[in-house]
């Protein structure tokens, strides 16, 4: 177990290394941070001065060394836009994003687990088709549109919760639901499929042929065996949230997280801050994947150690 864990952590660290290197290549080889941060009509002297100031005149390998060393020590560079360390800004924004993803996971699981189990229990009957309809609808609707519909109905018409921003605990409800519905739609179908497939296993068939009802077989036998799959599926939805939904939903609800920060960084042409945001979100994805593996292994000892 310990050796496996060490191997997994090393693999995750390797992915982080490759990913951050890719980000460096994207920002330093394909683009010119100095030119991007200045207005188009800026003179060549001004650009030269900015390049000098940012240390872009040095050999690329030296810049890369500094970038990598900065990452290890938690230094993500200095934001042009806010004139302060990017790591400081990210640290202020991170809690909001984590809160949003946490809330969304709660919504997702609360909706998806009962719906998925219901669909599997009544396979090919009306509830199964109804759950499929729910899933298809929410997988197909763009989450930012669901966000605006929720705002129109619950914040504008009914005035139950704040329209945007992070004010009071009620403000987290709408963004979490906007993210959670799409994830729940997918998760419910994955859970249904896992249970239906597990029900074909000899032990489940035997249990039912001995007279246990389908629902009893699901709750007392099948559920435990597919529980580790639930963890994986939920983890996948979390990585999806970190990389796509947070940016869009944080913009819709003016939610002060890393996603909104990345969006603003693009508007302000602040390459360093955007780079910091991308590195942190990619790091969260890698960490989530690692956490899934560890959790799976803890829940279900049969999971192979690879």
């Amino acid at each position: 177990m310990l050796r496996w864990l060490i191997r997994r952590v090393i693999a995750a660290a390797l992915v982080v290394f490759v990913v951050t290197s890719l980000v460096f290549v994207l920002t330093h080889v394909f683009t010119d941070p100095a030119a991007v941060s200045l207005p188009l009509e800026a003179s060549e002297e001004l650009r030269e001065a900015r390049r000098e100031q940012l240390g872009l005149k040095r050999p690329l390998i030296e810049q890369y060394g500094e970038f990598a060393f900065g990452l290890v020590t938690g230094d993500l560079g200095e934001s042009f836009w806010q004139q302060r360390p990017a790591s400081e800004i990210v640290r202020e924004r991170l809690p909001a994003t984590l809160k949003l993803v946490g809330g969304s996971v709660v919504v997702t699981v609360i909706l998806a687990v009962p719906l998925g189990m219901l669909a599997a229990w009544r396979e090919r009957k009306f509830p199964d088709h109804a759950v499929l309809g729910f899933s298809m609808a929410f997988i197909s609707a763009p989450p930012f549109w669901i966000g605006y519909l929720l705002i129109i109905v619950f914040a504008v018409q009914l005035d139950w919760v704040p329209t945007f921003g992070s004010r009071g605990w009620t403000s987290i409800i709408l963004p979490s639901v906007a993210v959670g519905l799409a994830s729940a739609g997918r998760l419910a179908q994955m859970i249904r499929r896992a249970i239906v497939e597990e029900l074909r296993q000899p032990y489940a068939v035997t249990a039912q042929s001995r007279g246990f009802s389908r629902s009893y077989t699901i709750t007392h036998h099948v559920f435990r065996n597919v529980a580790s799959n639930f963890v994986t599926f939920t983890g996948w939805e979390m990585t999806r949230m970190f990389t796509g939904y947070t940016v869009v939903i944080e913009v819709v609800f003016s939610w002060p997280g890393v996603g909104l920060m990345a969006f603003n960084a693009i508007e302000q042409k602040d390459l360093i801050l955007l780079q910091a945001g991308v590195v942190v979100l990619a790091g969260l994805v890698v960490f989530t994947n690692l956490a899934i593996d560890v959790l799976r292994r803890t829940i279900d000892p049969r999971v192979e150690l690879r």
């Binding site: 683009t31 991007v36 609808a137 763009p142 605006y148 705002i151 179908q189 994955m190 599926f233 869009v248």
Partner: protein, 330 residues
């Protein structure tokens, strides 16, 4: 009916999961002639029995038709015609007139006309992005699966890293570097989708390459490109089409998200995502702009998703039947 899996082919790589699958192609090359006719007739029969499939074909067909003949539909206003006195007119039923059935936007442009106009760009961008991803991904998957060895190691690890590093995030850097444009969006969507095709193609080819018809072809001296083109690719077609339709739904959603953020389609052109971005400031008193634009995205994507759902179930059924039929002879 097999459930939808969104963008997670890792759980449900269409038709790949069954280890018995290659057994169906016992000995003979099932490639071109013998299989085709049976499949098409089967396809129609299967479609007529599936309500979801019919709905998917109908919606996707309507979507494609609107995209193609959009500018020539009669009685529809010019989507670019601005009229400030008519700005933010409500739709029919909420105090509007038939001059603008779905109301007007903040510049007084006819909403229905703009929705019809937006269908084309959504479909074009989606098809271009998925086509690019499928081309690159399938090629790499063929190479990785057929040659194995270090080519497989390199391609598979790159795919793994890409899986952990979502292209959307890298896309944000591209947007900042090169400025927002449709081309960037196409490249970004293709970049975040190619590895799906690589993985499926690789695992299919992996099992196919040991089958008798490939070995026979190798022994008769056919070169690798010929084997890939003539013997492997025809066997991948149904899986690849299913995957392309599945990815198309995701690509249309991604395009709308990028355009909504202002990074995709740019103002003189219109796109559903961009319409939501332009209408968002008016949601408190003009709900229709955002509502109808989003509904267009949702319905189009739903149609494509239903089509993909049905294609997946069709492939599963066809394969299951084939396995059962082949077994006694083996």
């Amino acid at each position: 009916m097999s459930p939808p899996t969104g963008k997670t082919p890792a759980v449900n790589p269409p038709t790949v999961t069954d280890p018995a699958a290659p057994a169906t192609h016992s000995g003979l090359d099932p490639g071109a002639d013998s299989g085709e006719a049976r499949t098409l007739a089967d396809l129609r029969r299967h479609l007529l029995k599936s309500k979801a499939g019919m709905a998917g074909v109908a919606i996707t067909g309507l979507f494609a038709l609107t995209a193609i003949v959009g500018p020539w539909i009669p009685f529809i206003a010019d989507p670019a015609q601005q009229s400030l006195p008519d700005r933010l007119k409500p739709p029919v039923g909420w105090g509007g007139t038939w001059a603008h059935p779905l109301g007007t936007d903040q510049l007084g442009r006819d909403l229905l006309a703009r929705l019809i106009d937006g269908a084309r760009i959504s479909l074009l961008v989606g098809l271009a992005a998925v086509g690019l991803a499928a081309l690159i991904g399938t090629l790499l998957g063929l190479v990785a699966g057929y040659f194995g060895g270090w080519a497989d190691t390199v391609i598979s690890s790159v795919a793994d890293v890409q899986m952990a590093f979502p292209g959307v995030l890298a896309g944000l850097i591209f947007v900042l570097a090169f400025g927002p444009s449709v081309w960037i969006v196409i490249a970004v969507i293709a970049m975040s989708g190619w590895m799906v095709f690589t993985r499926v193609t690789r695992s299919l080819v992996f099992t196919l390459r040991t089958s008798l018809f490939v070995e026979a072809s190798e022994m008769s001296g056919a070169g690798s490109p010929r084997i890939m083109r003539r013997h492997l690719l025809p066997n991948l077609v149904s899986s690849l089409i299913t995957l392309i339709v599945l990815e198309l739904a995701a690509a249309i959603l991604s395009e709308s998200a990028f355009s909504f953020l202002g990074f995709g389609v740019q103002p003189p052109q219109s796109s559903w995502g961009l319409m939501i971005e332009q209408g968002r400031d008016y949601i408190t008193h003009a709900w229709w702009v955002v509502t109808f634009a989003g509904m267009a995205i949702a319905v189009a994507v739903l149609g494509v998703n239903l089509l993909s759902l049905w294609l997946q179930s069709f492939n599963d059924v066809a394969e299951r039947e084939q396995i059962i039929l082949d077994r006694p002879g083996m």
